[in-house]
Amino acid sequence: MLFRSLGVTFNRSWLLLLLLALAGCGGGGGGGNDDDDDGSNPEPTPTTFTLSGAIEAADGSAVDGDVNDPIAEYTANDDISQAQLIPNPVTLGGYVNRPGAGPSGASQAAGDIQDWYRISLVAGQTITLFIAGDGSVNDLDLGLFDAQGNLLNASASQGQTESLTVDQSGEYLLVVEVFSGASNYVLTVGQTSLSSAVGMRLSDSFVPGEVVARFNPEIAPTGLGLAARATAVGLAAKNGAEDRNMLLSLEGVQRAATYQALALMSSATDSVLQTTDPKLQLKLDTLRVVKAMNRRDDVLAAAPNYLRQPYLVPNDELYPAQWHYPLLNLPQAWDLNTGSGTVVAVIDTGVLLSHPDLQGQLVAGFDFISDPTNANDGDGIDSDPDDPGDNSTPGGSGSFHGTHVAGTVAAATDNTLGVAGVAFNGRIMPLRVLGQLGGTDYDIEQALRFAAGLSNDSGTLPAQRADVANMSLGAPGFSETFQTAVNEVRATGLVLVAAAGNDASAVPSYPASYSGVISVSAVGLDKAFAPYSNFGAFVDVAAPGGNTAQDINGDGQPDGVLSTLASGSGSNITPGYGLLQGTSMAAPHMAGVVALMRSANPDLTPQDIDNLLSSGTITEDLGASGRDDYFGQGLINAYQAVVAAINAGNGTPVEPQPILTVSPVSLNFGVSMTRLSLTVTNGGGGTLTVAVPSEDSGGWLTITPEVDGSGLGSYAATVDRSGLADGVYTATITFDSNAGSTRVSVIMQVSNTLSAGDVGQLYVVILDTGTGETLTSTTATRQEDGRYTYQVSDIPAGTYEIFAGTDSNNDGYICDAGEACGAYLTLDEPADLVVGGDRTDLDFTSGFADNLPALGASSADQPESGFARGIDQTKGLAR
């Protein structure tokens, strides 16, 4: 008998050795008699077994017809005449590469630059391209054409995601095009309702032909001159200087020279993203130039010269993920004030002073941790508030809690980097009081006194006392002496803000519960009370603290508060960004808003701010009408707060404008939900009158008002799927008011009879649970009913996991990012299958995932993942 597996042939003696070894592993145990006995046992116990089953492709799956795997079925989709018809909704896996790029395989040599798809879309639908590569070295773009092949829009950024939204229903062509390198990808239509599109699109509002760029002085020292610097990248200089942002232009330069200078010649001329409209073409070229410049070592950053709307929308890269700022009407507030002249004391673990997104935002602070065993920096109080890590993880990373809080207060903003801060033109005073044990009242009191400009143990006073102090800290336990300290610092004009606590209880936490301190509870993206937040009579106001158990906006990330963060400890600290949740995250939103108010009106006293809060005019009332123990006066409204602050002063009053605020901004009913709610409020001032909303569903959507005479209140949205054919349905609810209109996108899916999915060539891998290595593998066969079947034989007794996936890039591993993947029983919980006999019931599902793993900033390679499939094949087979 021969044992054949993985292209390796073993004779019986090898098999015997193998079985003996496995039997000794504890994970095997197949044992039994060898089938080559002397014949005394007529029915020898089997020592190997056969596993089989069926694999369902996830509903709505489809696959690119010309992936790099030479074993996969091949149908070219390289031009408009070959456009591959795909269903809607769809999750499609594919692969493209430039000639010579990527692993060997069907398209490696000649390249597969474009994949064309034909699809029927409905108005409002978003097409999203998730790129398995880094999006820069392996850069894919997305194009949208009308049915005749005229370019309508393109998304051509350098991230891992491109997205486009269609305005009108109809037949469209989609193109996935590789700008550089090679990559797997997942294209989705109608699967999610993204609250904000991502990518750098042709339809974005920017000046055609203009690029804002800054060069890297370490690689390109200043002195060359503005014009020469521009010429070096094939552009003309319009404005700026070498040591700051320059405004460069494509006007008046030969396009060929620009392409040559930026090594764009082949990618630009190969591209099907072309148009006869000269303005659109200039915008396309602008995007290409931006991408090419961002790839150069001598360029720090380049971006289109975006045209901004009246509301200040920062250009910070991660700002679109900071859902917690629009929740406060902060962009409207920024049109009035950005915090200039104010100082916010962050009384916390210290701040990572070297964080790139806090540069220029800090004033001198102090380290008030008096107990060296708590301080973790080798001494007691000192003048260095840098966060050395609080030893929150022994031998691991510090919490960098204060760095996160500081970023929310005033991270550097509109600098194209990282995140935005609430009062970004204010300054942060880092005061360190929390060490590895926590913080003491005495040390916190010293920090408060320093912030207020009162004598303290440091023996020094700040050059400018703080306007507001944020304390994202607390614990039960009232102290009369600390109450006195609070009274003293408040009397100097310092506004105190603190976190209500995270015990999900009514037990008061201090300092938040002291008289004279604004206690802040937390809400999530849906403005619902956060499950961890404390509540009670001491709560004054609510602010976003996040809820990481949710992903309401469908952006693939937990709905935490995004801010500056770091990891590591000691001399090995890496700055970064992170999503955290807690009333610690809510408090700095309020502190930042207070800074905006103090900047708009420096005469405001702590009592004035208390009065404004109590009046209910600067908050959005949530929960029970009026003040309640969960939200206090309600969710802080930054716009109303700044307007109120201005109008409380002696300057020119601001006529508060009504703001039509609808929450949430989109509704996604998925395949099963039938009822969702909308809330319409006046986020500004004055009188807001909202008309009965209209909707364009054609009958499946019903809006039922539960509102007052002005149209403010709740609206119930219900859907009726009866009689509807399979597919994705979208509609728009339009709210018209005297403050303008707001549209709410609605998406709903009917999928009762969706046809079976197709994920392409599937490989089944049997993984030894003990070793984690591939034992054997096989190809699955697609049947007429759309299911895949598989069978693997000669499996020794043991414990195994079974995976099934595609290998679109033909690198020999299934389940890479962008490739279909599934596991028995499920991918989330692969079962440890104990094999002691034949099995025929090993059925499971395989499909494409759109939550592709994020890459580190420095990683240009494709993420390595997956399982060796071990199917012998001809590498480099060209079609």
Binding site: V8, G26, S399, H401, H404, G438, D441, G477
Partner: protein, 169 residues
């Protein structure tokens, strides 16, 4: 999943399977206590959705390790390379906690196997009373690399001898 599985010839798996650490275990069978070296692979305060609930789990494959790593809040970078033919990983989570100050302190570099039970002794650190604490929700966790020995039960014991977590392989 970000780890990479390599295709090994079956014969190599066989040879690895014959090493004492992987094979039948006379100590375990006799119930004697064996001390095994254990190294901290990773630990953090913000382990995210992977560590919302208290648990101890045995991770015997790169896929299982990747599933944990992919769910951390603060990206720890690339999944560490573990030779799962010789090693395994224990994932220990305290569960979601309301503040900073909670941590798992594994300093002794050893775990004990007695019979079919693997026991991990560690410092189960909670914030001391009387201090004000950062009001951030934390999810402390610990990944320990151990030899791939056989056992069926897991037990985590704190510094005072209290059993904090139990699990099965």
């Amino acid at each position: 999943m970000t780890g990479r599985r390599r295709l090994w010839p079956l014969v190599l798996a066989c040879l690895v399977g014959c090493t004492p650490s992987q094979g039948a275990d006379p100590d375990g069978a006799s119930g004697q206590q064996t001390t095994l070296r254990a190294d901290v692979l990773f630990s953090d305060t913000y382990c995210g959705s992977a560590a919302v609930y208290p648990k101890v789990a045995w991770l015997g494959s790169t896929a299982a390790l990747n599933q944990v790593f992919d769910r951390f809040d603060r990206s720890p970078g690339a999944t560490p390379a573990v030779d799962f033919s010789r090693q395994a990983v224990l994932f220990i989570a305290m569960g979601q906690r309301p503040t900073a100050g909670y941590a798992l302190d594994f300093a002794n570099g050893r775990v004990q196997r007695q019979g079919e039970t693997l026991e991990v002794r560690l410092g189960w650190r909670e914030p001391p009373a009387g201090y004000r604490l950062a009001q951030v929700v934390t999810t402390p966790c610990l990944l320990i690399e151990i030899p791939a020995v056989s056992f069926s039960a897991l037990r985590v014991v704190d510094q005072s001898g209290q059993v904090r977590l139990t699990g099965r392989r």
